[in-house]
């Protein structure tokens, strides 16, 4: 093994390379208002069939109603997650069953794969340009919670939506400490492997429900699509 | 570039042997615009066939002759985007690191594709004397992607009042000629040419025009074999015929 490593590196080092300056990575900036940022985020997600709802602090009740309507029998959530307590406290007694997801996967694999209708997580933020949710799964909200159940519900605070991935990575200094797993999620699972025709709900969640909390409702302005500046 | 007093005309080997009328028409059009046209008799071929086949030494040998023959300061007019592209883009590469590098660069810088010259440099006015006709236009890949002069051909045709232009389906796609490609991979080349010829036939035009005779040799030959009714014509010949009473067919 060491042999392969050393000989590969030796061959690469022997190559003639003209020194290259660091590429200046021009950053695409968009000067969107808060409202426009949120609106683009919503439009992006809806264009790939995510269900997006504006919510207020009564969101657990509203969510419970929605889920019940779509025949969801239970919802798994991380009780120690940022929104765990809020979800539990606001959950109506006649809502779908709430299941605390706080065991190692080895202890709940069967239940997660075969007997869970929906999973709930918080998220780190959102990206307006592409309509993406940013998740950093954690002990409190493990990786499979947003992946295995057929329905994934996410609550995002409107003020955590930024224009671009680059903006989020640099504002939050991702490069200094990446988590085990970081995810961008843009819609429910889909495939176009047959005849380039989109079909939703392949191996990941068939349904993605995004709750946006905070910020005024938009007026429905239309926006031009190009970056304001690239520098 | 401003309108020059004189130019050198590089006819290309394909036009020289297979369609000299197009070359002649091109020279007459330029001459009619008040420019002296010189045709260096020593010219042969730009060298592209060998270059594209990977035979660079052979290509250089032939290209070097053109450097000799085309010495001077006048623009070099080439009635083919493919050959013009070879000279403009690849001569500097071909002669890189050789004693001829400097003059290869000088010649390359003077090469102008025919339509580009008429359209952009001369801003030529074309008084269409021909009857109304629908015409399909084919742009070579060199015109479209290498020299970006496809628009010039279209613009010239649009100046002909009685000509209406038709764009065949999949117009952006290569006709399948590709020099030695047609010889080395004849099955694929024929399939491409067949599709292209059929797409033109579907427009039901009587005539297909292009600024590259290589493509037309391919498409036209395929169309003829397939029994399609349309003919093919080099744009230089077409422009000349439409604007000269005496030569109108």
């Amino acid at each position: 093994m060491t042999d392969a490593r050393d000989s590969i590196l030796a061959r690469l080092r022997a190559a003639r390379v003209d020194s290259r300056p660091e590429p200046s990575v021009p950053v695409r900036r968009f000067s969107w208002s808060r409202r426009e940022t949120v609106e683009r985020f919503r439009i992006g997600l809806e264009s790939v069939r995510a269900q997006v709802h504006r919510v207020d602090d009564d969101w657990p009740r509203m969510l419970a109603t929605r889920l019940r309507e779509s025949k969801v029998k239970n919802l798994r959530y991380g009780p120690d997650g940022p929104l765990g307590e809020e979800l539990r406290a606001g959950w109506p007694t006649d809502g779908p069953e709430l299941i605390a997801h706080d065991q190692p996967i080895e202890a709940c694999r069967e239940a997660l794969f075969t007997n869970t209708d929906a999973g709930f997580t918080s998220c780190l933020g959102g990206i307006a340009e592409t309509g993406s949710l940013v998740l950093w799964p954690s002990r409190a909200e493990p990786r499979l919670l947003s992946l295995v159940p057929p329905v994934h519900v996410v609550l995002i605070e409107a003020d955590r939506i930024v224009p671009t991935l680059h903006a989020m990575m640099s504002e939050q200094r991702w490069s200094e400490s990446m988590p085990t797993n970081a995810l961008l999620i843009s819609g429910p699972s889909k495939s176009a492997d047959i005849e380039q025709t989109l079909a939703y709900g392949v191996h990941g969640p068939e349904k993605l429900i995004v709750l946006i909390r905070g910020e005024d409702r938009p007026t429905g302005d239309r926006f031009a699509g190009q970056p304001e500046a690239i520098d | 570039m401003t309108k020059p007093e004189s130019i050198l005309f590089f006819g290309t080997c394909l036009i020289d042997m297979a369609n000299p009328e197009a070359g002649l028409a091109g020279m007459r059009l330029i001459e009619r615009a008040g420019i002296r046209v010189r045709f260096p008799q020593g010219q042969t071929c730009c060298g592209q066939p060998a270059y594209n086949a990977g035979y660079r030494e052979e290509a250089r040998r032939v290209a070097r002759l053109q450097l000799d023959v085309l010495a001077g300061d006048e623009p070099i007019l080439v009635p083919s985007a493919s050959c013009a592209g070879m000279m403009r883009t690849h001569y500097p590469r071909l002669f890189e690191g050789t004693p001829d590098a400097a003059r290869a660069g000088q010649v390359a810088g003077r090469v102008v594709e025919f339509c580009d010259f008429l359209h952009r440099v001369l801003r030529i006015e074309l008084n269409d004397l021909g009857p109304p006709i629908r015409v399909a236009v084919h742009h070579s890949c060199s015109a479209r992607r290498q020299l970006l002069v496809a628009d010039a051909a279209t613009a010239l045709l649009r100046r002909l009042a009685n000509v209406s232009l038709v764009e065949p389906d999949h117009a952006h796609e290569c006709c399948g000629f590709g020099g030695t490609f047609a010889i080395k991979e004849p099955e694929i080349s024929s399939a491409m040419a067949g599709d292209k010829a059929a797409a033109v036939a579907a427009t039901e035009v009587p005539l297909l025009v292009s600024q590259d005779w290589g493509c037309l040799l391919n498409i036209g030959g395929t169309a003829k074999q397939a029994g399609y009714a349309y003919r093919v014509k080099h744009i230089a010949e077409f422009l000349w015929e439409r604007t000269e009473v005496a030569h109108e067919k």
Binding site: I105, N181, G201 | M17, V62
Partner: protein, 465 residues
Amino acid sequence: MRSEFRLRAERSLASQRARGNIRRAMDGLILKRRAAFPDLDELERLRDQGQAIRDQALANLPELLERLERRCATNGMHVHWAEDAAEANRLILDIIRRHGGHAVLKGKSMVSEEIGLNAFLAGHDIEPIETDLGELIIQLAREHPSHIVAPAVHKDRREVAELFARHFPEEPYGEDIEHLTALARRMMRERFRATRIGLSGVNFAVAETGTLCLVENEGNGRLSTTAPDVHIAITGIEKVIARLEDLAPLLTLLTRSATGQPITTYVNLISGPRKPNELDGPHEVHLILLDNGRSRIHADPELRATLRCIRCGACMNHCPVYHRIGGHGYGTVYPGPIGAILEPQLQGLERQGELAQASTLCGACGEVCPVRIPIPDLLNRLRFEQAQGRALRHGRRSGRERFLWRLWSLIHASPASYRRISGFVTRLRILARIRLGPWTRTRAAPRIAARSLHVLAQREGFRDD
């Protein structure tokens, strides 16, 4: 005698159904890509940036690989190096055996195709389970991917329905795409739950943070890398990039160029195995860095550009030759224009040199490449290498080709001989019989003028001086 490539191409050309399927799909992908880049100036700036990032990574490749190795190790991953396919396969087998695995969940990975992993594992009684819908179709059909992004692009829904009916006879038959997709989900569910080992490719490996970036739409990639106890990632050594922030423009270029999507459904950034306090994720993550000829390509300053490739497939989506013969016509793992430059370099010009000839040099590939690989120029370079190689060997056919070009150059390098020959009107007819033989099979013979332009120009008074 027709070459293997020509025979294969002929077979592909004869398959009207696959040709139609491919053509329709490619036409759609071309439109989607165009719509995804509405601002052409911005596209050109992005391409400059993509090229600069990839060039810089390749210029610092050994240092970046060492950094990646260090960071991944710090993050708790195991990093392995493999010289070639055999070594990579062996490494993977060892890891699987150490964990007593009998099956492997596979996310889509072209490198695993490159090393022939599925056949190798099957030969060692380990079942490779392709989980991507397209790859599943291909695996059931016992074929190879015909496209690097859309492996089953040559098949239509009816073919898939018939294939599924054969393999899952207990399931209801249906040709509806939603139905077929749902069927694949049901069939895979239990495998995702029960399989202990997962394997994936890598889209970008970030040296700065020791992060593996994977993009996908279906969720099978996330499942294959998250649900099992062990995740094995395999990638070519060229996939490394320096900084995390480089990901932003590269992702934009990759997904828009590939399928016209602003982003894939999932972008999965993996920076290590499950930490002691975490509740899921694999306990072990292995990264295999494969050379398999890449360091040889890297050694050549011009051909090195081949390694910029981010595997978006835009070049094949826009290639008229690919449109006609599809991926199977190439007979290589990587088809299309990128395959035509990559495969002859990976496998040698002796084996795959003809791929470099399988292009009209129309330039459509170079025009759309998100990292500006000058594919036509590199094809030309490979043809040059091939011609040089012919000079050294002395194959009968090769000798004849060389001789003809030499003869051609001598005729065209002298005005006198050119005039003599061109005056000889039958010149092209003679040549046509020797060299243009295949030309006239589907084309009327070209008309040869009675008098050359040289003669006409002189006659019309266009002077030489």
